[in-house]
Amino acid sequence: MPDILLDLSSVTIRFGGLTAVSSVSITVREGELVGLIGPNGAGKTTVFNMVTGVYQPTEGSIHLGGRSLAKLKPFQITDLGIARTFQNIRLFPSLTVYDNVRVAFHRHLQNHSLQSLIRSSNFEEEEANLKARTVELLTLFNLQRVQDEPAKSLSYGDQRRLEILRALATKPRLLLLDEPAAGMNSSEKTELLTLIRFIRDTFDLAILLVEHDMKVVMGICERIHVLEYGRKIAEGTPSAIRADPKVIAAYLGDN
């Protein structure tokens, strides 16, 4: 079995009086594709926010490859190899599609502020190199056709895909996707399924996927964790989860 990559152990977070996530433990192994599901308000996005350092857990610990993420800033966690997308797309709207991806290479940048003033041959070389890699990535997702448009002018589907691409540019070991299929029609969803599998295989990473669409989740995830009211109520393979009475109750009760 591959090593454990992400390890949340008994994580709790409270906002004032509200316990949004309560003693939840989740693991993701290297290269694994894991689903995180649950009714609205269950705490899925909050888990992502804790893993990426946007919120600090009130109790419990989070480790990436054995390293504690406590007190790290979001950008430091990204440096360690976690990238994410947001439930309500958060691109850099005024930057071009190309620049949206390019800035995400930041983590691997050798030349910073001073070098951009001096513009040595070393600097120009790296910039050219980054340009090639950016265009390569864009082409992979067929976004090079709009690369000079500002990101805000893209169609919704393209914005979603650009956000995933931007996350990939940081070269993560773990990719967190927050409802990537939201707002897509069924043919777009099918495309997305293929895309996610493709990403996992080509980029050699693990994926933790939050998604409401059961077809998507059941179709690609190897293991699924279920949250309800901030608690974990089930964990297992897609078929086991589908049959779990607690999960059925949670979803039926929700509707």
């Binding site: 906002f15 004032g16 996005t45 926010n49 946007v54 919120y55 947001f86």
Partner: protein, 301 residues
């Protein structure tokens, strides 16, 4: 000791005026989330309106009734002015970036100040002496000599705060105001007319600033078109100190700033008086960004 009590009373008087202005900042911030830069100029206009009213009525003797009448009239005019500013300059900018609104507010502030300084359209650049508003009597408490004017500011302020409390907590409009500052979208969903409430908030805040203007002028007693800037900035600091959006916080913040400023004025550091408020502001934002009575909200992602 007498010296101390004297300073204490002066500080409370000054602080009460800051509190009156701060309430306007905090209320507008509550419903619209922006700093109404022109608020300090409404305060200035308030003192001029008071001056004109006192000139026009030419009371033989200042009387309490006359003073209260002038104050009320003044508050009404300032309320109107506040609504006017809101309708003309800010309403067209709903949902625009904070920056745009902030710059517009600065523009409005510059316009009012410069119109006021103009000899033809305004009051002219020279300071004017402010006539007595209330009859003044000296009171003796042991060693301590007090004038009734010194007591008038805190007393009037307390009265206004009581009315404000009643409006905000016991009337439908006040409830709507609180709902709006809690969540604007939800408020409009439950049928609150946001535009009306926003106008009402401006009216309320501006009338308090107007009262502040008259009381400040009465104590000072000289007025000029640029008089609003410094008290305005300090009152804003007071609002942040108390926790922006929080009404009791604004009142508390105002009194604290007034006290600190008065006591600093009595020391060797008096020339740094105007810098003190900003030093407090920076300290509070560093150590308690939500203010003394405010609650820190975690931004939802």
């Amino acid at each position: 000791m007498t010296e101390f009590l004297q300073q204490l009373l002066n500080g409370i008087s000054l602080g009460a005026i800051y509190a009156l202005i701060a309430l306007g900042y905090t209320m507008v911030y509550g419903v619209l989330r922006f700093i109404n830069f022109a608020h300090s100029d409404v305060f200035m206009i308030g003192s001029y309106v008071g001056w004109f009213a006192l000139q026009r009525f030419q009371f033989q003797q200042p009387s309490f009734l006359g003073g209260i009448t002038v104050l009320t009239l003044d508050m009404a005019v300032c309320a109107l002015l506040g609504v006017l500013i809101e309708k003309l300059a800010y309403k067209p900018l709903r949902n625009r970036s904070t920056l745009t609104v902030l710059i517009t507010a600065i523009g409005v502030s510059l316009l009012i100040q410069n119109l006021a300084q103009n000899q033809k359209f305004g009051f002219g650049p020279n300071p004017k002496a402010f006539p007595p508003l209330f009859p003044s009597k000296q009171l003796q408490f042991g060693d301590l000599t007090l004038s009734t004017n010194q007591l008038a500011v805190p007393i009037v302020t307390l009265g206004l705060l009581a009315i404000l409390y009643w409006i905000v907590h016991c009337t439908r409009t006040g409830t709507a105001m609180r709902a709006l500052s809690f969540n604007a979208t939800a408020a409009s969903l439950v049928g609150i007319n946001n535009d009306r409430i926003i106008s009402f908030t401006f009216a309320l805040g501006s009338s308090l600033a107007g009262a502040g203007g008259v009381l400040y002028a009465m104590n000072y007693p000289s007025i000029d078109p640029l008089m609003g800037t410094m008290p305005g900035l300090k009152a804003f600091v007071a609002a942040v100190l108390g926790g922006i959006g929080n009404l009791p916080g604004a009142a508390l913040g105002g009194v604290l700033i007034g006290l600190v400023e008065t006591f600093v004025s009595g020391t060797r550091l008096s020339t740094f008086r105007d810098a003190i408020a900003f030093a407090i502001l920076i300290a509070i934002l560093l150590f308690r960004p939500a203010g003394l009575l405010g609650k820190l909200k975690v931004e939802k992602v």
